[in-house]
Subunit: 361 residues, 2 copies
DNA sequence: CGACCGAGGTTTTACGTATAACGTCTCCAG
DNA sequence: CTGGAGACGTTATACGTAAAACCTCGGTCG
């Protein structure tokens, strides 16, 4: 079949045999499935069947082998643009997050990418405009053709553009009330904050400073509400809220200002975030006080930072990778018409060195 | 203009007027350029010309307006898969990095994505296998069709797969000796380490512990060589090298072991990385010593971590965003046949609180 | 012996876009 | 009144793949 005929000679472009092991010099156009077909002595359709693993019972073992060999020889890789066009699906999801330099979102990405890879999916990122400059349109920026979107509620600006689309949308850590999401993956933030306040109350703390994120977002609102709710029934508990930008220096300044104001000093600083907590610790020490002996400081997120500083932070550990993984799983479920998994992801209080019993008086 | 003629009625699919502002329900297939053409009463080619901004002198202003209106009405977005197939280019680059949870690489990505967005390019990530699980083939994982690759030399494993390709490759922070890169973006790491050792020598330090990364890579080799070279001419200088994993806990353990060995204690610990330095600080204090009074500790990279810990780290500031930005610019240059910008990016010693004069004796 | 069947392919088509090649109509100079 | 020459579009085609529909041929069964 494949031998004897004079037409079986593979048509090489010119001077000498090209080196079989892939080493394509630029200028040589990439081999297509038709080139593979020619080299294997079969039709292009057969190549597609074999390489797509759809050939069982339709193509002989022998022919399939020939095709695979030819593909390997030529270093064939399918043209994804063509494949995507043909199939009308791209197996690619867009992940919209505020900024990757925030370790939490880097971990969310990692989780999403891991699950995606297991299902032969790709993840392309859109760090929304606060992070990266001029691109207004997520879809222009993420130049890939997309099957769906996973978006953090913190990337509010980008969300409106996405809503104008028929793409399935999975929301991360977002208000269950707002509509338009095909699925939702939330952390049990309120429970985390409840555990934290219970921990501090048990240590005898009653005067709290709540160092809150200046950027408003659902997750941060939940923290504030849960803290307030926890303290509502404690007679002598008092909490003051101070907003701060999400960086160490800004947090430090905000806390320094707050602590030098007249009136009774808080004995514990509850922070919305580990970064804020790191800043709070620095502020406390700048004022000549000690953490945790004079003032306890607690974080939220359990980033690498939490165990890098001293004392190590008492914080609420959030399963960031699981958020991303579950977000991707939910999107896959939606795309396949299955119901996505329900229920909030649990969080966990981690007690370390930055919290201690309140000083008497 | 648009009214009066009975044919001006837009052809809507059926029951009642569909809400013009985009709200596509799922099930309705996305409008194509042909749909826009039909709605505007022109041919598909004209739509392509107008929306591609290639129409000046070939299409009247009036017609162009009609096309744009129709496109807006239908919420038309071009099918990128089709466009990519047609053009044979995708305006998408692959960025290969070891792990995004490392702030340095998150910043590299940010820089690359910013420049890409300015040139209407996309960036898709491949966090190489040490970071994410089962995907062996970068091209299978990054499901996009690609125009080029930007790769950190730290993602060694993925590089071999990429080399078998004719895609233009820009290497980041890599050995100038190894071949196969169309362009290269390097930091002047050696100069950074020279500045650092000069700083410490000026403070009177002579006995050094070099806390090196356990993962081997060109950037880390350069640090070691530059440190050794700097100390070569200093008569009484002595340096011992200890490898450590790139996390705080591992670094702490490595340093604790090193410092409890018999023999004269180093007065300065030079770390390959801020994360290692944070661990080193913790080790020093665990042994009852102080930073910087008893032992100076220095980092490398100038991550957010460097100013979050106490004392703040003396370190070498690396322009991570610029690395990414320049990598992307270089790739664009290569793709357009222009020569990429040459020369290493400068780095800067930042003196903070973790380094101090060596204790006498 | 004719109809049917399965094995092992091949031919053909469609996906949506960009653009080269090709009309058509009007206006104006020779 | 003929022959360009713009101005303004249209028709036709190709990109590479997946898969539906279709062939061919030897054997089998009624």
């Amino acid at each position: 079949m494949a031998d004897g005929s004079p037409k079986d000679q593979p048509v090489v472009s010119g001077q000498g045999a090209s080196p079989p092991p892939a080493g394509n010099r630029a200028g040589t156009p990439r081999p297509t499935s038709r080139d593979v077909a020619r080299a294997a002595g079969v039709s292009q359709a057969t190549v597609s069947l074999v390489l797509g693993e759809k050939w069982h019972g339709r193509v002989s073992e022998r022919t399939a082998g020939l095709v695979r060999d030819a593909a390997r020889q030529l270093g064939y890789r399918p043209n994804l643009a063509a494949r995507n066009l043909r199939l009308g699906r791209t197996r690619t999801a867009l992940l919209v997050v505020p900024a990757l330099t925030n370790e939490f979102f880097a971990r969310v990405y990692t989780g999403a990418a891991t699950v995606a890879a297991e299902h032969d999916f790709g993840v392309v990122l859109y760090p929304s405009p606060e992070g990266v400059g001029p691109a207004k349109d997520p879809f222009a920026s993420a130049r890939a053709a997309l099957d769906g979107v996973i978006a953090s509620s913190m990337a509010a600006q980008a969300l409106t553009a996405i809503r104008g689309t028929d793409l399935p949308l999975v929301m991360l850590d977002s208000d269950p009330a707002d509509p338009g999401a095909a699925a939702r993956v939330n952390l049990d933030i309120a429970d985390g904050m409840r555990q934290m306040s219970a921990h501090l109350l048990a240590l005898g703390h009653r005067r709290f400073l709540h160092l809150a994120s200046a950027v408003s977002s659902w997750t941060f609102d939940v923290r504030a509400r849960a803290l307030a709710a926890s303290l509502r029934d404690v007679p002598d508990a008092v909490v003051r809220t101070v907003p701060a930008p999400l960086d160490v220096a800004g947090a430090r300044e905000a806390v320094e200002r707050a602590l030098t104001r007249p009136g009774p000093r808080p004995t514990a600083i509850v922070c919305d975030d580990d970064i804020l907590a790191a800043g709070a610790c620095k502020a406390v020490r700048r004022l000549g006080l000690r953490v945790p002996e004079d003032i306890s400081v607690t974080g939220f997120d359990d980033l690498a930072l939490a165990t890098a500083v001293e004392p190590e932070l008492t914080t609420v550990s959030l399963p960031a990778e699981r958020v991303g993984a579950r977000g991707m799983s939910a999107l896959l479920a939606v795309l396949e018409g299955r119901p996505p998994e329900e229920g909030d992801l649990p969080v966990e209080l981690v007690v370390r060195g930055s919290s201690a019993p309140a000083r008497a008086g």
